[in-house]
């Protein structure tokens, strides 16, 4: 196996309403960006080992929509969608992310900012997930944990880290 980047993804919580995931890849960033934004390539990694990605649509321009669907190993369907806010090829993507469950709306969806930075042929990807406001986050949380997965993560990770 070739040198697989640094291995572990790092999860930190820069603010009460933010999650930051960082991961380094042993490859130039135009390739990482391509893998991140090409439907056929996204199909190969997005589901992890938890299922099979069945549909990837992405209209890579500001205002363009995206939607990913996977069939989880348990047989049920999991889908996310959102809208691109910023598209800076090879550098930066900003998009909303809505987990499709009954009652989920696009309004006030978490905003994800992905950046790709290259250093000596290696690429660091950072993914920052921001929820809009503490009020909204708490409202989502109070409506039940299944609604605000992203928001929950902030809390759960924080706590897990504090217990480590």
């Amino acid at each position: 196996m070739t040198q697989p980047g640094t291995g572990a993804a790092k999860v930190t919580l820069p603010a009460d309403d933010q999650i930051l995931i960082t991961r380094e890849f042993a490859a130039p960033r135009h390739l990482v960006y391509r893998a991140w934004t090409t439907p056929d390539l996204v199909r190969r990694w997005w589901a992890g080992h938890r299922g099979k990605t069945t549909d990837v649509e992405l209209d890579l321009r500001p205002g363009g929509r995206w939607r990913y669907v996977m069939i989880a190993n348990g047989g049920f369907e999991v889908a996310f969608h959102g809208e691109y806010r910023e598209v800076l090829p090879n550098e930066r993507l900003v998009y909303t992310e809505v987990y499709e469950i009954p009652g989920a709306t696009d309004e006030g969806a978490p905003v994800v900012t992905v950046t790709f930075t290259e250093d000596a042929g290696r690429t660091t990807v950072t993914m920052r997930t921001e929820t809009h406001s503490q009020e909204l986050r708490d409202m989502i949380l109070e409506s039940g944990m299944e609604v605000g997965l992203q928001e929950q993560l902030v809390i759960l990770e924080e706590l897990a880290l504090s217990l480590a």
Binding site: L31, L41, G144, Q152, I155, L156, A160, S162
Partner: protein
């Protein structure tokens, strides 16, 4: 046992920032209530209310020490949260590992392409690199 809707499980109980602060403080070791009141800069009634919620889901335990009530974290009750985080982390690890192979493969393809291009340009069989 009657509980408010928002505190039926440990996930909801820790959704409140102040309650997480309480857990952070108690993670360092057990503390009496007045300690928490001082450190949080909240009123005693508010702190007590948060502690009640945390107790209702088993996230903290209390014992009487003379005239004081001393609270501590109950790690076992927080385990579902930890497990949940691990699951999320693993998902991303898996994704990134797969992304690694995709990107590595793209790199190889690109290199081969470069070789071919160089070969064609020079009209020779073995491009020097």
């Amino acid at each position: 046992m009657a509980r408010a809707a928002t505190t039926t499980d440990v996930f909801n109980a820790v959704a409140e920032p102040r309650r997480r602060e309480i857990l952070d403080l108690l993670a360092e070791g057990e503390r009496p209530v007045h300690d928490l009141v001082r450190l949080l800069g909240l009123g005693q009634p508010q702190v007590s209310k948060h502690l009640r919620v945390l107790r209702a889901v088993g996230a903290v335990e209390v014992r009487d020490a003379g005239r004081q009530r001393v609270y501590r974290v109950n790690g076992a009750a927080l385990k579902p949260i930890h497990d949940w985080v691990r699951r999320y982390e693993r998902t991303w690890e898996e994704r990134f590992d797969l992304l690694d192979s995709v990107v590595t493969e793209l790199g190889r393809t690109e290199e081969e392409h470069d070789h071919d291009t160089a070969r064609n340009r020079r009209g020779e069989g073995d491009p020097a690199r």
